[in-house]
Subunit: 408 residues, 2 copies
């Protein structure tokens, strides 16, 4: 009897379906479409020459280790280098507080795995990073979205909600936040709100997941202190990554947390993938020790700032005035709000036909709202492509808004 | 208020604890201990010269892709190469039936994730691979062990158990099997039993997880056909890996299965780690296309056969006659059974003091039995080290058995 897989999926698996965003990516992958969909770093930013040489040396000189299984927690040398970097940023950690993960996505998966039971209440930003939402979904957490504004998460709204939940006897377990140059909205959490959020977390014994892939990619000034450095009680689990500042293809990121959390996560990681790839860890170690990391960051900041500037200038010139957008101070993303009643998902095929792609914002929402929103990534396209793409998109949006007013 | 993490762990996380085996590894990592604990491939088997050159070329020539995020399913080129290899081994699959995973451990995690609800009945080999048991644990499957003999899983015992469960209205969901040169027991499932198992799986709508990391590392003749090639109804999910035949440090393995399963697993993988590392996939593609894979396999077979022979010869010479052991026809492991009443975990510190390490077999059992068993890996130690280590272990065991008879 042939297996009927539909009968066999776990409860969890029934709840996970392909995201709109993957569909959007596929749609925008056509040859002559200028895509602002993928939040990928620019390949021009990869230190290829260095890596070709360092990689060769690593295999020749220490291939017996760099090609072998490594420790589940990651190489102590890399964990030590990361801990040093974090201490320079005001976070008092040692190597024992660091777990190397196969990208921050694995970090989010492991933390959800060890903290979430089905039905547990999890607070998320709305709009929020789709990968974080996916990890929570996988462990059947119940997501509640808190809105953002230009200063990031509306901590005042959260505070009210926490009071209400306490009255109802409900206890949220964790809150997932991307404080710097947020994905997808591009906004940054203000210092005052960081302090408030840390205080709320302590008051309500709430775990803060502080996911910071973009923090080093600031344009004018470094972001405010990490919540982990403002935190007194150890409530914060911090996610750092080399994907945006080095290369994503090696899948090397880390979690920083209380030693008890790291130990539990390491046991979970053992069953998840045994260890992260050894070669990638060794490569990052050598590259960090070779010096030049700060210069590399300066280059990246310049590269992405120029692209942000180009996209903002093109938006100002070509978008209808009724379209709102955020002005990111770092990172990869601009968030666009179309007039109410518009549907970015319905517009996408027309945009693609006009030669430009984006991600409809609805998928970053947990309550079915956000149909009129769009995420634009300026990280990958060249400046001329950004100008052309935004001009094309502006024309499509102008047509749609024109059509909309007729329809009204 | 400081977080009390013990209050916050998920049900799942409460159930996962550090394994004895990890402790055993740590114990055997002392400088002058000859360790038969780790089932790692031999670093001498890594094609380092080739990889240093190929790796450099990949970064120089296609660094924009090989250092970037890749598709969640893995590169089509690699999936196509794997499907071709599998078709040569009698399994009718295409690239759409292949998902690249971050080691087979991730494959086991993802399959458990999409198939298991807490309490689901899972059949495992006893003794069974600890990583497979761990993945099932992580998703709170209820494990039932079926014993092995020299021909692998006792399918007759399984058949009786299935009849009994059917009468009780219980339905096992899947069975996890390492058919070739099993970890930890070194035994291989006979052709007749493969056919019987496939027939049982069809009759009971049971999913077979066929995990085959060692299949290519045979000593005298290639193993029997894969169950996936004997399978009519698509009940088999196959796990293949480059860790033992190429290098483990790149963390590249694959799952082969029905397209519906691959699509579900890909969605789960998206939330687990987005994608496997791109560089490792590209490296394997180039290395496979460069030819020489069959010659490389021949070398590996010779290397590991010589080590098996050395270990068996040393066991015959130095172990007390009351100690039983398996004679593997491939792979990395010999399984040792001490006289009843002996406790391999209690003996380990004395063995380490005498300069030799192993893994106590108890951790490969799901019912607390197996205290008198030991897993020996001959894959990593040189032949002189194997001879010395087994002589040392023989002396410790002789002392213990001597002591045992006095105690009786």
């Amino acid at each position: 009897m042939a297996v009927n897989w539909e009968n066999l999926w776990s409860e969890r698996a029934r709840g996970i379906v392909a995201s709109d965003i993957r569909d959007a990516f596929k749609l925008t992958e056509k040859g002559d479409v200028i895509s602002f969909a993928g939040g990928f770093p620019s390949p021009e930013a990869f230190p290829r020459g260095d890596l070709a040489q360092l990689g060769k040396a690593i295999i020749e000189e220490e291939g017996d280790v760099s090609l072998q299984y490594g420790p589940t927690e990651g190489y102590t040398e890399l964990r030590t280098l990361i801990a040093e970097q974090m201490r320079e940023q005001g976070i008092e950690v040692g190597a024992d507080n660091i777990l190397i993960t196969s990208g921050s996505q694995q970090g989010l998966d492991l933390v959800s795995r060890v903290l979430l039971d089905p039905g547990d209440l999890v607070i998320v930003e709305q709009p929020g990073y789709i990968g974080g939402l996916g990890a929570i979904n996988n462990y059947q957490g119940e997501k509640v979205g808190i809105p953002l504004d230009e200063e990031g998460l509306r901590v005042d709204v959260l505070a009210e909600r926490l009071i209400r939940w306490r009255r109802q006897g409900r206890r949220p377990k964790m809150i997932y936040v991307v404080p710097n140059f947020q994905n997808p909205a591009g906004v940054t959490l203000s210092l005052e709100r960081r302090r408030q959020l840390v205080a709320l977390a302590e008051e309500y014994e709430l775990v803060i997941l502080e996911d910071n892939p973009y923090g080093e990619l600031w344009f004018d000034k470094a972001p405010e202190p990490h919540m982990m450095s403002l935190d007194g009680g150890g409530n914060v689990i911090y996610f750092g990554s080399f994907s945006k500042v080095f290369v994503p293809g090696m899948r090397v990121a880390w979690i920083a947390a209380d030693g008890a959390v790291i130990r539990k996560l390491a046991i979970a990681k053992q069953s998840a993938d045994l260890c992260s790839n050894s070669f990638g860890q060794k490569l990052i170690c050598r590259w960090l020790k070779a010096g030049g990391y700060q210069d590399h960051l300066k280059e990246l900041r310049g590269l992405y700032r120029a692209r942000r500037d180009a996209m903002l200038a093109a938006i100002r010139e070509h978008f209808p005035k009724s379209v709102k957008y955020t002005v990111p101070q770092g990172g990869f993303f601009i968030w666009v709000e179309l007039p109410h009643g518009m549907d970015a998902k319905a517009i996408l095929p027309r945009a693609v036909a006009a030669g430009v792609g984006y991600v409809p914002g609805e998928g970053f929402h947990v309550d079915g709202t956000g149909k009129n929103t769009i995420r634009l990534a300026y990280s990958q396209a060249s400046i001329p492509a950004i100008e052309t793409g935004i001009r094309r998109l502006g024309r499509v949006l102008a047509d749609e808004i024109g059509g909309l007013s007729f329809a009204i």
